[in-house]
């Protein structure tokens, strides 16, 4: 698979396809009906000069839409996870487990905690899906 530019429209589309291909996600996310925003904070020294937001419209085990846009759009979602670019890269390259990252405060979570905890398995699988997308990172691989 050709690598796609990190956090680009092509990346969003490939990520959405991975999520919708996952039977594990489909069953673990049954009943989920909230939007999730990922805020990727800028790190100019890593060749990622502007913050970006990923808005995920997830419903009942399906990714209906995943869009990349301004960080402000992602911040309006029901659940928001924020981290600098390099942390997201660590997650997507399996160097950082997302659950551990949240407990350590490396990934900052905003939203109703009991709900997100209830869907731990779904969020773990969603992280797995990001690792399956071949990515060309702006600061090199």
């Amino acid at each position: 698979m050709m690598p796609v530019k990190a956090f680009s429209d092509e990346w969003a589309s490939a990520f959405k396809d991975e999520v919708n291909r996952s039977a594990t996600y489909k069953s673990a996310a049954k009943g989920w009906k909230w939007t999730v925003g990922l805020v990727v904070e800028a790190e100019p020294d890593k060749n990622f000069p502007e913050s970006r937001g990923i808005v995920m419209d997830l419903f009942d085990g399906e990714a209906r839409d995943i869009k990349v846009g301004p960080a402000a759009d992602a911040q309006k979602c029901d659940f928001v996870i924020t981290a600098p670019y390099s942390r997201w890269k660590e997650v997507a390259t399996k160097q950082l487990d997302a659950t551990r990252g949240m407990l350590q405060g490396k990934l900052k979570l905003k939203g109703d905690l009991p709900t997100i905890v209830r869907y731990t398995k779904a969020s773990q699988e969603m992280t797995e899906c990001t690792t399956r997308v071949a990515v060309a990172w702006p600061d090199g691989n």
Partner: protein, 158 residues
């Protein structure tokens, strides 16, 4: 014209502000883990009268140590109030040691009849297996089974 929406909002804010403080933090800067556990328990207790009942009766000092991030907290339940400390404090009633994923699974244990955690569904079996294999350790379990069950009920989002 009256701004009824605004007044309703103000009343809601007032109600929220006058709600008794259930969870406090002993450290000026609570760790992410401490904030997460404190926030989770507060949301559980405020959203569920049965859990609130448990919370009001619970008096115990519970340590939770996450082995794969090398971080712990102490939950000091004081019968209707909880003080969360960064790190493990002395004189704990029970101490739970497990990996991050297992700690999250503990909060996903279903509560069955008589308020007992359910260990025969998929999540419960996983937790029981970790306990048997020593990947989940609960110091002080035997003399404090009822406390462990009460803590599980307060902690569980199910």
């Amino acid at each position: 014209m009256h701004d009824q929406g605004g007044r309703r909002m103000a009343r809601r804010k007032l109600e929220r502000d006058t709600q008794p403080e259930l969870v406090t933090y002993s450290d000026q800067e609570p760790s992410a883990f401490a904030s997460m556990l404190g926030g989770l328990i507060e949301a559980n207790v405020r959203g569920n009268p049965a859990k609130l009942g448990d919370f009001e009766r619970l008096v115990a000092r519970v340590g939770i140590f996450v082995t794969d991030i090398d971080e712990g907290v102490t939950l000091d339940f004081k019968g209707g109030r909880l003080v969360v400390h960064n790190g493990l404090e002395p004189a704990r009633t029970i101490t739970i040691r497990a990996e991050a994923e297992t700690v999250m699974n503990l909060s996903n244990l279903k509560i069955g009849p008589l308020g007992m955690p359910v260990y025969f569904d998929q999540v419960g079996r996983g937790v029981a297996l970790k306990l048997l294999r020593g990947r989940l350790k609960i110091d002080g379990l035997i003399p404090n089974v009822m406390t462990v069950n009460a803590v599980t009920r307060v902690f569980s989002v199910q």
